[in-house]
Symmetry: C2
Subunit: 231 residues, 2 copies
Amino acid sequence: MRLVIARCSVDYAGRLTAHLPLANRLLMVKADGSVLVHSDGGSYKPLNWMSPPAKLTVGAPDESAAEVGVVEVWTVQSAKTDDRLIVNIHEVMHDSNHELGVDPGLVKDGVEAHLQKLLAEQVNRLGEGWSLVRREYMTAIGPVDLLVKDASGGSVAVEIKRRGEIDGVEQLTRYLELMNRDPLLSPVAGIYAAQEIKPQARVLAEDRGIRCVILDYDEMRGLDDVEHRLF
Amino acid sequence: MRLVIARCSVDYAGRLTAHLPLANRLLMVKADGSVLVHSDGGSYKPLNWMSPPAKLTVGAPDESAAEVGVVEVWTVQSAKTDDRLIVNIHEVMHDSNHELGVDPGLVKDGVEAHLQKLLAEQVNRLGEGWSLVRREYMTAIGPVDLLVKDASGGSVAVEIKRRGEIDGVEQLTRYLELMNRDPLLSPVAGIYAAQEIKPQARVLAEDRGIRCVILDYDEMRGLDDVEHRLF
DNA sequence: ACTTCGATTTCGCTA
DNA sequence: TAGCGAAGTCGAAGT
């Protein structure tokens, strides 16, 4: 990985065109040829970048560029598309190279898959005496997160999200429409379960007779731990 | 901005828990206290990070950590939430500090807003003798991108996307349902316009009587340039 | 290989 | 300021 701190301007031409005026920035050149342009603020997203695979070519500025103070021109060309990033370097303040090797990668825990697993084990959170039929219950248009039965044996399709937005309601609606055409399943009720449900999504869901349930992740995980400790 | 190349392991605890095993990585500390952990590959997203505002505290390892080779422990605490990033540093290969100043920011061109503006000026692309009624036509559930009239005076709602996917069809369907309840507007036809329309989205749209139109951005921009040159 | 869907998404606009 | 849609989204999992 090569790290360069430089006063530069940057132009991107590809799926859109974008321009960065002259300023001091970090240029990160990775082993796969990708280039990231970072400022000293914002979040993890660079101001501008080129995705791998790409090829970095360093050249001399043309006459008119040299006149305005450009000392070096970087051309980062995408290997697959005709996207291109041009960096006009006016002054280099730092330049260093480092061998990092391949990264072993990130280990995650606590995303939607985990929520689904926990709720499948704790179906009673949805109602007293309810039971799980299947996780990832397949329909013609895709899998429903959970299919459960209420205390009186009625089918309920559950859509689980970390953050409940309007598209999740649409998704569940499509499943319910389809499942209610199946005489073996019908009637099927719907539940939209999430750690957080946006007001618009809640209104749409309830307007369609879909119940909304807020999931407390910490509580569910805690209960899970307790259950595991008992065994 | 502080740049550190170090052999380290990283743990994140917050909205989820995540772990990075021991390896060589770049640690970027920005002026706002945010920290980015980058490897020498992947895309512009770091392996792990802490969003601003955050506070970095450097401490000594406890006894057990020191035994396994940790020489320094970084604790990055989010200022707003209880998210926390812990970096166990085993060896520092590089450490430098750089003054970058505030960045003037990015200038963009060619996104959905631009597409909408261009199509509003070139309504004839949708049909001979068509005319624009309004951009961002407000309804109770949100603004329709374009409301236009066809050659015979019939209303048409247009949803514009850069990439046409299924959720855009759902969105337009909701608008059409609502608008067709208004006797002053009804009947309202629908058009789904995008630079690219996914097959599933096309099938769903056409099944609902929504016409699909592919927009050629370069051609539209070119035509726009030509028109501007004439004035 | 292609498609679909989630994300510690982040970003930007609007009400 | 909160909410909502878009992104040069990226990335992983399943088909």
